[in-house]
């Protein structure tokens, strides 16, 4: 299953490192990354392939990172976005 991960929050050292380390540990392949910083607000969008990883486990791990680093992180099935924006 492909998923879109969004990370939004105040920029600081190690955001990409923490998130991608978690994906590496869980055998999640990163297919695409786009990232910008707008007025100090870090915005990253990743497209990932989950393969064997469990969505609920990833979500709880991401929630921990989000809390520790004061970020807003979401992981959603890619189909949600296709359904919302493509006919």
């Amino acid at each position: 299953m492909k998923a879109v991960v969004t990370v939004v929050g105040k920029d600081r050292v190690g955001i990409i490192a923490r998130v991608s380390a978690l994906f590496c540990e869980n055998n999640v392949n990163i297919l695409d990354i786009s990232q910008t910083i707008m007025q100090d607000i870090f915005t990253m969008i990743m497209l990932v392939e989950l393969s064997t990883a469990s969505v609920s486990k990833l979500n709880s791990e991401l929630a921990k990172i989000a809390e520790e680093m004061n970020l807003s992180i979401h992981l959603q099935n890619e189909e949600v976005f296709s359904s919302m924006h493509r006919i």
């Binding site: 969505v55 609920s56 949600v80």
Partner: protein, 215 residues
């Protein structure tokens, strides 16, 4: 890849604007549960609902997890129960209540929020069974928790059944009276329709249409 603006827009909907799936409703036909003996009918109803809907909530929760979008309610709608009451031998309010309590118990057993279909369509007149069902509504709603009831009293084509309208007035007052401790909550589980639509999934007026060939 979908563009970042669209992604952020969707995330905002989920995160800030409470985007969710309001309800999934499973339609179950009770036509096969008809029996002159009330105990046998109740047993068939309980077994059918718990067999067909046993995975409804679990699969709903799996879909929620897979897509990360909450599904707020899981519900069941059944064929208007008047078809069960109609076939009972020596039907009575007690027997109606027994059927309703069976629906309540079956719905709770499969962990749905509501079960709709304690209903009758009487826009062209009432059969004895339908009359009894309407009469039993206040007791039924006061003595069950998640059973919802509806009565269709008119259609554009057939006109309005004024006798049924008058009776529903009394039913509503009695239902409110019987549940006065909870603010007349029984009435929140009751809908009086004109032009009721078949297979309507919206509580409290949900029921499975006659023409539906599923389950």
């Amino acid at each position: 890849m979908i563009n970042p603006f669209e992604i952020i827009e969707t995330i905002n909907m989920i995160d800030k604007e409470n985007l969710d799936i309001r309800t999934i409703t499973m339609g179950i036909s009770l036509k096969s549960c008809v029996d002159p003996d009330v105990d046998k009918a109740c047993e068939k109803i309980y077994n059918k609902i718990t067999a067909y809907a046993k995975d409804l909530v679990r699969v709903g929760e799996e879909i929620e997890e897979q897509y990360g979008i909450p599904i707020i309610n899981k519900r069941i709608s059944v064929t208007p129960v008047s078809c069960i009451i109609e076939a009972l031998e020596e039907p009575s309010i007690e027997k109606c209540l027994k059927v309703a309590k069976t629906l309540d118990a079956a719905a709770k057993a499969v962990r749905v929020n509501f079960i709709g279909g304690y209903s009758a369509l009487v826009h062209k007149g009432c059969t004895p069974g339908e009359k009894l069902l309407i009469e039993s509504i206040p007791e039924v709603l006061a003595n069950t928790e998640i059973v919802c009831s509806s009565v269709n009293v008119g259609t554009t084509k057939a006109g309005i059944n004024m006798d049924a309208v008058a009776e529903m007035g009394r039913v509503i007052k009695k239902a409110a009276e019987l549940t006065k401790e909870t603010g007349g909550f029984a009435c929140a589980k009751l809908v009086v329709f004109c032009n009721a639509v078949e297979d309507n999934p919206f509580m409290a007026g949900a029921f499975l249409g006659e023409a539906k060939a599923i389950a």
